[in-house]
Amino acid sequence: MSSTAMQTTEIIKDNGEIDGKSKLRKWLNMNFRIEMTDGRVLIGVFLCTDRDANVILGACSEYLKSNDGETEEPRVLGLVMVPGRHIVSIKIDETMDTSLQKFYYEE
C-alpha cells in the first residue's frame, strides 16, 4: 500500500464525507485498471463515476485474462462505461507523476 493510500485514510478521518469526493477528484484523468466479473481487464483513463460505482474510462483498452502468463494483444475500445456491479477490482497507476498527467486541466 503506497503512501497516498495512507494519506487518504487520514483525510477521511479528519474531514469526513466531503473528502471522499475530493479524493475521487484527484484520481480523475489517471490510469485505472479495472477487472470485470467476466475476467477481462480494462485499462483506461478515469473520467467519471457516480454513486453506484459506474465508472467511465476514456481511451480504454481491453485485455483478456491470460491463464498462462502470456500477454495478449489489447483491443482498443475507446470510451466505455463499466457498471459498478461488474467491477471486481480497481487499481490505479502510480508510476506517472500526477502533475504531469493532469496538466491539461490546470489553469
Binding site: L24, N29, C48, R51, I56, R75, V80, T95
Partner: protein, 963 residues
C-alpha cells in the same frame, strides 16, 4: 504558459504543425531544421477540407472517445519529397501514442511515361504494405486506403491521396496528401509538395499552382509560434525519432505481435475498497467528473461493458473455447487442406458465397467472408481447386470493393468497405507480412481458375455414375467464379476488354448459376442450429477481436439457398445494367437510372450501373467538374452528352453549327461555360439515382440548390444567345431555361413523391401534397414539354427553310411523356378532391389543434422547393386557393375526383405498348374510380371510419379502400 499553448492547440482546434519536444538534442535540432520549411498543415479532427480549395467543407463532431486531452497524442513529422528522374519518395513519421503507433511511412511514386502509368508503393518502416498501379491519364483525385497492419483494423487507416494529376508532354504533375484516419475521419492530413516528373528533371511546387494560399499562410504563422521548443511540454509532443538505420534494417513484424513501442510499465496500486468507500459520498444521480472536458453527453456516448448489445468483446469470453486459427485448426486435424471430397469443396464454396452475399448486404468482411479459415492462408492450401478458389475470392472481393468505391453510391447501411487488415489486392493474404512472390495478377488468377475448370471437367468425364455430378457441379462453381470475376473486371476497369465479352460472360454466369442452384444440395450442409455456415472451415468468432468497440456483435450469415438466389438475381441485374451502354440519349439514360433504382437493386448492381454509364463514374465526374480558377476548362465526355441532350430536347440555335448565334466567340464561350457548369449537378443527379431509395430524397433536396444556381446562369445565357435569332419571336424563347426547368420539375416531383414512398406523410397531410402536384408541378411539366416541342419544331422549320430536308415530320418525341404527365396530374387531382371530401365528412383523423400547425407542416414539406424559378406556392396562397372548396358539397368533390380518375384511365388506355408502370396505374385508376363513384352515391356516408390508402400496387399512388 505551457498549458496555454497546448490548450489553444487542442481546444480551439487550430491547425498546428511539427512540434519538437523537450527531449531536445543536437540531433533533433538538425532534424528539426531540416523539416522546418516543409509546407504542411495538420487539420485537427474537427475539420474536413476540400483538396482543391483548401477550404473547410464541414465541421465534424469529434467522436468522444478520441477527444483531445485524453492522453491521445498526435505528434508527427513529414519529410520533403525526394525526386530522382521518374521516381519520387515522400516520407513521414507518424506517432499516435495512445495506439502505440510509431512508424516511418514512405510513399514511393514511379512514373512510366511510355504507358502513362503511376506506380505507387507504400512502405511502413521499410516494409512494403501496398503496391498499386494507376493510369496517370485519369485526373480525378482518388484515395488509396492503406490498412495499418499493427493497429485494430478499421479503426485506424491511412490514405494516400493523389490529386491534380496531369500529364503534359510526358511530364507528370502530381500532388499528394497523406491522411491518417481514425474511424474513417482524417485526423492528420499531411500535404507534400507537388511533384513534376519528366525527362528534363524534376521539380517540386506547392499545391494549388504555386502561390501559398491564405489558409496555408495562417497555418505557417501558427507553426513558427508553436515551434518554439521551450514553450511546449515534452510530454505532449515528442519528436519523432527517425532512426537513420531504419531504411537499411527492416524489422521483422508479425500480425500477432504489437510493434515494439516503448514498453509501458505500470505500478498498479489496488484502490478497490477505497474507491467503493469514497463513492458513497456522492449523492444519488450525482456524477463526479471533470467539468470542462467531460459531461453527461460524453457519458451517454460511452459503450456499456457487459451489455450484450454493446459489448462485442463479451462473446469471445463466454466460456466458448477459443476459436482456432488456420495453423491450429490444420494441426489438430479439424481443417483439411488436402484430399478434400468434392462434396466438402462444394459445401465450402457455397458457404463462402453465402458469406459474400452477407457482406454485400452491409455486414462487415471480418464477420462474413473472413470467417472462412481457408482465406486466412490461401497459399498454404494444398488442394489446388480450393487454393485457386480462395485466391480468386480475394481478387473478387477486391474487384467488388473497387467497383463500389468508385461509384460512391453507398451509405453505411449499404456496404462496409473496411478490410480489417486482410490484404485484398494483388497479394492475397492476411496480416502485415508481405511476400512479393505470392503476388497474383488478374491474368494469373483467371488462368488458375481456367486450369482447375479443365481439370475438374476431365475428372467429371472419367466418372459416369452419380458422383459424376459432383465434379461437374464443382466445375460449374469454379467457372462461375471466373466469369463473374472477369465480368466485374470489365465493368470496373472499363477499358481492358470489349463490351460483347462482358455480355457473354454474364450470360455464362446465369447458366452456371442454374447448375449451382440445382446442385446446392450436393455439398456438405451446415449443422442444424449451428452458427457456422459449413461444418468445416468456418469460425464465426475468429475475427471478433478485430472489430471496433461498438459493433453488432454477431452477424447471421444468409442461408445458402437464399444466397445463391441472390447471386442469380445479381447476375440478372448486372445484365440489365449493361443495357445502359446502349442508351445514347441522356434523357433515356436518366429514365433508365430511375427505373433501375425503382427495382431496389443491390449495391453492387447499382454501382456497376454508375460505372457503365460514365467512366470512371458520375461521382468522379462531378468532383472533377469544378476546376480551379485559371486552369483550362476540364474537358469531359459528359459535356458532349449534355450538349446532345439539350440539342435533342429543344434544339437551340446556339448549338446548331451554322446558326448565326454561334458566330460570335463570346456567345460560344458563354454556352460552353454553361455546359461546364451543368456537369456537376447532372452528374450528381445520376449519382443520386444510384443511392438507395431512402437516401435519395434528402440528396434530391440538396441538389435543388445547385440547380437553382444553374437556372440563373441559364437565364443569362438565354438572354444573350437565344434572343437574336432569325424571326422576331425571340422574346419568349428560352431554350436552355426550358431544358433546365424540365429537369428541375422532375427532381421536385421525385422529391415530393419520395415522401409518399417512404411513408413520411400522415394521411391528413396528403391533400396538400397531391394538391401541389396536381395544381402546379405536373401542370408546369406538361407546359415545359409543350414549350420544348414548340422550340425544337421551330428549329426544325428553320432547318427545312434552309433546304435541309432531314426529317420532314418528326414524330413528337415527348408525346408519351406528355401523356404520362397528364395521367399523373389527373390522378393527383382525383386524390386531392377525394381527400378534401373525406376531410369535410370527418373521415380523416386530424391532429389535435393544440399541437398542430398546418402552416408549419406545409412550410416544412415544401421547404426545398423554395429556392427556384418555378416560384414556390406559399401556405397563404394555398389557403386562398383552396378556400372555396371548404364549402363544397362532398358529393360534388367525389364526382370531380371520379372524373379525374376516369380521365387518367382513358389516357392510359390510349398508350400503346403499356409497360408495368402503365398497367399498375391503370389498375389504381380503375379501382379508385369505382370507389369514388360509390362514395358519391352516398355509400358509407355517415361512417367516420378513416379510409385506407393501400400502396401495394403502386409505390406513389395508393388505392383508396373503405373499411
Amino acid at each position: 504558459m505551457k498549458t496555454k499553448v497546448v490548450q489553444v492547440i487542442f481546444h480551439l482546434l487550430l491547425c498546428v504543425t511539427v512540434i519538437p519536444g523537450s527531449a531536445y538534442n543536437e540531433n533533433n535540432v538538425q532534424n528539426f531544421e531540416r523539416k522546418r520549411d516543409i509546407a504542411m498543415d495538420v487539420t485537427d479532427f474537427s475539420v474536413y477540407y476540400d483538396v482543391h480549395t483548401n477550404e473547410t467543407i464541414r465541421k465534424m463532431m469529434p467522436r468522444p472517445w478520441y477527444r483531445p486531452g485524453w492522453r491521445l497524442r498526435l505528434p508527427f513529422t513529414g519529410g520533403p519529397c525526394e525526386c530522382k528522374s521518374y521516381k519520387c519518395t515522400c516520407c513521414t513519421g507518424i506517432r499516435i501514442e495512445a495506439f502505440g503507433f510509431d512508424r516511418r511511412t514512405c510513399a514511393i511514386l514511379k512514373f512510366e511515361p511510355e504507358e502513362a502509368i503511376i506506380n505507387l508503393e507504400v512502405k511502413m518502416s521499410n516494409k512494403s504494405v501496398l503496391v498499386k498501379m494507376f493510369s496517370a491519364s485519369n485526373p480525378p483525385p482518388f484515395c488509396v486506403p492503406i490498412p495499418v497492419p499493427y493497429l485494430p483494423p478499421g479503426l485506424v487507416d491511412m490514405c494516400i491521396r493523389l490529386f491534380d494529376v496531369s500529364i503534359v508532354q510526358q511530364r507528370l504533375h502530381v500532388c499528394m496528401d497523406m491522411d491518417t484516419r481514425i474511424d474513417m475521419a482524417p485526423v492528420l492530413i499531411l500535404h507534400f509538395d507537388c511533384m513534376d516528373m519528366g525527362i528534363d528533371g524534376v521539380s517540386l511546387s506547392k499545391p494549388g499552382g504555386g502561390g501559398s494560399n491564405p489558409a496555408n499562410a495562417a497555418t505557417n504563422g501558427d507553426t513558427t509560434e508553436s515551434m518554439e521548443p521551450t514553450q511546449v511540454n515534452g510530454d505532449v509532443y515528442d519528436p519523432v525519432t527517425e532512426d537513420p538505420n531504419i531504411e537499411t534494417t527492416p524489422q521483422p513484424m508479425a500480425m500477432d505481435s504489437l510493434p515494439a513501442s516503448p514498453e509501458v510499465t505500470y505500478n498498479w496500486v489496488d484502490i478497490t475498497s477505497d474507491f467503493f468507500k469514497y463513492i458513497q459520498d456522492l449523492k444519488l444521480g450525482e456524477l463526479l467528473h471533470d467539468g470542462h472536458l467531460f459531461g453527461l453527453f460524453e457519458a451517454m456516448s460511452a459503450i456499456e461493458m457487459m451489455d450484450p448489445k454493446m459489448d462485442a468483446g463479451m462473446l469471445c469470453n463466454r466460456g466458448n473455447p477459443k476459436p482456432l486459427n488456420f495453423p491450429q485448426a490444420v494441426a489438430c486435424g479439424k481443417l483439411k487442406i488436402d484430399d478434400l471430397e468434392p462434396s466438402e469443396l462444394i459445401g465450402i464454396i457455397d458457404a463462402t458465397m453465402a458469406c459474400i452475399v452477407s457482406w454485400l448486404e452491409g455486414h462487415s468482411l471480418a464477420q462474413t467472408v473472413f470467417t472462412n479459415l481457408y482465406l486466412h492462408q490461401p497459399h498454404s492450401i494444398i488442394n489446388k481447386t480450393l487454393k485457386a478458389y480462395c485466391i480468386a475470392v480475394y481478387k473478387l472481393l477486391d474487384c467488388i470493393r473497387d467497383c463500389i468505391n468508385k461509384a460512391l453510391v453507398f451509405e453505411e447501411e449499404d456496404f462496409l468497405p473496411m478490410g480489417y487488415g486482410y490484404r485484398l489486392g494483388s497479394n492475397p493474404q492476411m496480416g502485415s507480412t508481405y511476400d512479393a512472390s505470392l503476388e497474383v495478377s488478374e491474368q494469373k488468377c483467371i488462368a488458375m481458375l481456367r486450369e482447375q475448370e479443365e481439370e475438374l471437367n476431365k475428372k467429371a468425364r472419367s466418372f459416369d455414375d452419380d458422383i459424376n455430378n459432383l465434379w461437374l457441379a464443382l466445375a460449374a462453381r469454379i467457372r462461375f467464379t471466373r466469369m463473374i470475376y472477369q465480368a466485374l473486371l470489365v465493368i470496373t476497369k472499363r477499358d481492358c476488354q470489349s463490351g460483347a465479352d462482358c455480355v457473354a460472360l454474364l450470360n455464362g454466369c446465369s447458366e452456371m448459376m442454374k447448375i449451382i442452384i440445382k446442385t446446392s444440395g450436393k455439398g456438405t450442409q451446415p449443422v442444424e442450429n449451428s452458427d457456422s455456415p459449413n461444418p468445416m472451415g468456418f469460425e464465426p468468432m475468429i475475427n471478433q477481436r478485430l472489430l471496433p468497440p461498438t459493433f453488432p456483435r454477431y452477424t447471421r450469415i444468409k442461408p445458402r439457398a437464399e444466397a445463391l438466389q441472390y447471386f442469380d438475381e445479381l447476375v440478372t441485374r448486372l445484365r440489365h445494367a449493361w443495357k445502359i451502354t446502349s442508351c445514347t440519349n441522356f434523357h433515356t439514360a436518366l429514365d433508365f437510372f430511375m427505373d433501375f433504382s425503382r427495382q431496389r437493386s443491390c449495391i453492387l448492381s447499382r454501382s456497376a450501373l454508375q460505372l457503365l454509364y460514365l467512366s470512371p463514374s458520375p461521382a468522379s465526374t462531378a468532383s472533377s467538374a469544378v476546376a480551379a480558377p485559371g486552369q483550362p476548362r476540364p474537358h469531359h465526355p459528359f459535356i458532349e452528352i449534355l450538349r446532345e441532350s439539350i440539342r435533342s430536347f429543344v434544339n437551340p440555335p446556339a448549338l446548331t453549327p451554322k446558326s448565326p448565334a454561334t458566330c460570335t466567340p463570346q456567345a460560344r464561350e458563354l454556352v460552353e461555360n454553361f455546359l461546364v457548369r451543368c456537369v456537376r449537378p447532372f452528374a450528381v443527379l445520376l449519382q443520386v439515382c444510384g443511392h438507395n431509395r431512402a437516401r435519395q430524397r434528402d440528396k434530391l433536396a440538396l441538389l435543388l440548390d445547385e440547380f437553382a444556381a444553374l437556372q440563373e446562369e441559364a437565364e443569362s445565357v438565354d438572354a444573350l444567345v437565344g434572343g437574336g435569332v432569325v424571326g422576331g419571336s425571340g422574346a419568349g424563347r428560352s431554350c436552355f431555361g426550358t431544358w433546365l426547368l424540365y429537369h428541375v420539375l422532375r427532381v421536385m416531383i421525385a422529391y415530393l413523391l419520395a415522401g409518399l414512398e417512404l411513408e413520411l406523410y400522415s394521411v391528413h397531410e396528403y391533400h396538400y401534397i397531391f394538391w401541389y402536384l396536381y395544381e402546379f408541378l405536373y401542370g408546369w411539366l406538361v407546359s415545359a414539354l409543350g414549350r420544348a416541342e414548340a422550340l425544337s419544331g421551330e428549329a426544325a422549320r428553320r432547318d427545312t427553310k434552309r433546304g435541309a430536308r432531314k426529317h420532314k415530320k418528326r414524330a413528337r418525341p415527348h408525346a408519351r411523356e406528355g401523356l404520362m404527365c397528364q395521367v399523373l396530374q389527373n390522378m393527383c387531382g382525383g386524390y386531392y378532391k377525394a381527400l378534401v371530401a373525406f376531410k369535410l365528412q370527418g373521415k380523416i383523423r386530424q391532429p389535435a389543434c393544440a399541437f398542430d400547425s398546418e402552416a408549419v407542416r406545409y412550410k416544412h414539406r415544401f421547404a426545398p422547393l423554395a429556392v427556384l424559378t418555378p416560384p414556390q406556392v406559399h401556405y397563404h396562397e394555398f389557403c386562398e386557393m383552396t378556400q372555396p372548396l371548404k364549402y363544397e358539397n362532398p358529393v360534388i368533390l367525389y364526382l370531380g375526383g371520379c372524373k379525374h380518375f376516369q380521365q387518367a384511365r382513358t389516357v392510359l388506355e390510349t398508350i400503346t405498348t403499356p409497360d408495368q408502370e402503365v398497367t399498375d396505374l391503370l389498375k389504381v385508376a380503375k379501382t379508385n374510380f369505382v370507389v369514388l363513384k360509390l362514395l358519391a352515391g352516398g355509400h358509407k356516408r355517415d361512417s367516420t371510419a378513416p379510409p385506407e390508402f393501400d400502396f401495394s400496387v403502386h409505390r406513389h399512388f395508393p388505392i383508396i379502400k373503405l373499411v
